[in-house]
Amino acid sequence: MRQMSTRLKIGWALITIFVLLYALFPVVSIFATSFKLPSQLNLGLFWPQTWTWDNYKEILAPDGSAQELFLSALRNSIGISLIATFIAVVLATLAAYAIARLNFPGKRLVLTTALGVSIFPVISLVTPLFNLWRNIGLYDTWLGLIIPYLSLTLPISIWTLAAFFRQIPWELEQAAQVDGATAWQAFRKAIVPLAAPGVFTTALIAFFIAWNDFVYGISLTSTSRARPVPAALAFFTGASQFEEPTGSISAAAVVVTIPVVILVLLFQRQIVAGLTQGAVKG
């Protein structure tokens, strides 16, 4: 490798600092806000003057004013997003396997449909679903969100997995069978280890998308029975009616952002591969 000149090193250090500032500044900003005392919110300072856990107690402690609201929303968000991700990934795995390995008429149709669904304006689906869900009793239920979430998670899962599966050397399966493995052993020992990372990455991306939903969340729920976190945040109220819920919202925002940051830290390479493969490579 070429030796870097000092000037180049300084240049890269500056660029890195700039990118880090860009990417993390708003996150640090709301993190700082979440530790401010309600009485010190209006000082116009970035960092809290006195650091306090009060806002976290509001949303997590048993006697916190927003605890019931936040924890039920968290439960709903995790449950609904996981189920919607799971269903999407199972369906997409089957479809992507067929697209990558089999020759059948309509293959293009499936891919084009996935593309069409992924650019569909979500809000256009909300009005008819709102009306229908109220009539058939799915309004404000988990299932009532899981079904529309599939319109968000399924298309991207199909694209990403099809791209992953096309790169798997499927001949390995036959090679293993020639070597004396049964069909099941060949599949499990040769193919599953190659396919698993792609499936996992796809699940991660699909989960991010479901976790982010706001439109369905506020339109198709009305109580803590099914309302997910992003929607619940918009309906937070302060400890008293004279208090802005700034602190509790910031604390809740930090709590739901921590898992995202951890997942990104652990799997950045896979997420980048998944996003770019599904997007551009053939």
Binding site: V110, P230, V256
Partner: protein, 321 residues
């Protein structure tokens, strides 16, 4: 697509080729298996989008309020006339288009810069840079909206205190009381959150530019700017087009940031918010459905323009061919 078809046991195929009947059976069996596997996903996708949009079109032809359900009556295209002759709709369309154009242009420039940084970065920095860039991508849009809102808010914010030396900014400036300043913060949050996506698409495009070409141009004495304009950009035109179209369609549906920061106050109502307020807020299912259908048609129109006029090969660039 065809080139990617995996060799389904070539030896078996060769044997099967002897008997035409056998082969056509095989093809049929493969087609059947293909649809067994891909069918469920296909049906679910249609069920969650095609059915609702048809229902929306149907509902849009009726005078239909949930507050007066017995009053439901067929009115033909009256709802569309009502919407299209109302300035509120055109204003929302203008605001939406403004946000779309500004965010896409800024994101294209910023995203390209970020992509170049990630592309050129030495190995030890690459992981760090990618991790940082993925944080905005993974964060909930509503959280991003609150972060930007609280930073600019007149009472809980610090931006006014930091930048009070800038002409026009003082501690009394209420960013969310005027259209221009509200849109500025809304657009900033949208750009921050979605630039990583566009930069990853562009990064993939950059990776496809043949390095020999770039090196040859460098040897021939082309400056950095010349190489970028003459070699790199033309070679990633497809990736740029796809990135722009995807982001434009996404920005056109903007909802979360506007809802959290202004809820449409001071002339910041966007189309999605207008549709939401009409159907879910005022329970005007007929009118709301008409707006939903119009929004859908706008998206189709944007796609059509992109594909016909700018020859964006969506399927190709997304791995379809």
């Amino acid at each position: 697509m065809t080139s990617a078809t995996a060799p389904v046991d070539d030896a078996t195929r060769a044997r099967a080729a002897k008997a035409t009947q056998e082969r056509s059976d095989r093809t049929k069996a493969e087609a059947r298996l293909g649809w067994y596997l891909a069918g469920p996903a296909f049906v679910v996708m249609l069920a969650v989008t095609l059915y609702p949009i048809i229902q929306a079109f149907f509902d849009s032809l009726y005078r239909y309020r949930l507050t007066a359900p017995d009053d439901k009556a067929f009115v033909g295209l009256d709802n569309y006339v009502t919407v299209l002759t109302d300035m509120v709709f055109w204003e929302a369309l203008a605001v939406t288009l403004f946000i779309t154009v500004v965010t896409v242009l800024v994101e294209l420039a910023l995203g390209f810069a970020l992509a170049l940084v990630m592309h050129r970065a030495i190995k030890s920095l690459r992981g760090l840079l990618r991790t940082a860039i993925l944080v905005p991508y993974g964060i909930i849009t509503v959280v991003s909206a609150f972060a930007w809102f609280y930073a600019f808010d007149i009472s809980s914010g610090y931006v006014n205190h930091w930048f009070d030396w800038v002409p026009g900014i003082s501690t009394d400036l209420n960013w969310f009381a005027h259209r221009g300043t509200s849109l500025f913060v809304i657009i900033a949050s949208e750009i921050w959150k979605t630039t990583p996506f566009i930069s990853l698409l562009l990064l993939a495009g950059l990776a496809q530019v043949p390095t020999e070409l770039e090196e040859a141009a460098e040897v021939d004495g082309a400056t950095w700017g010349q190489r970028l304009r003459r070699v790199v950009l033309p070679n990633m035109k497809a990736a740029i087009m796809v990135a722009v179209l995807f982001r434009a369609l996404d920005a056109f549906r903007i909802f979360d940031n506007v809802f959290i920061m202004t809820n449409g106050a001071n002339g910041t109502t966007v189309l999605s918010l207008l549709a939401y307020r009409t159907s879910i807020g005022r329970l005007e299912i007929g009118l709301g459905s008409a707006i939903s259908v119009l929004l859908f048609l706008c998206v189709i129109l944007i796609c059509w323009v992109a594909i016909k006029l700018f020859k964006v090969d969506l399927a190709g660039a997304r791995g379809g061919s």
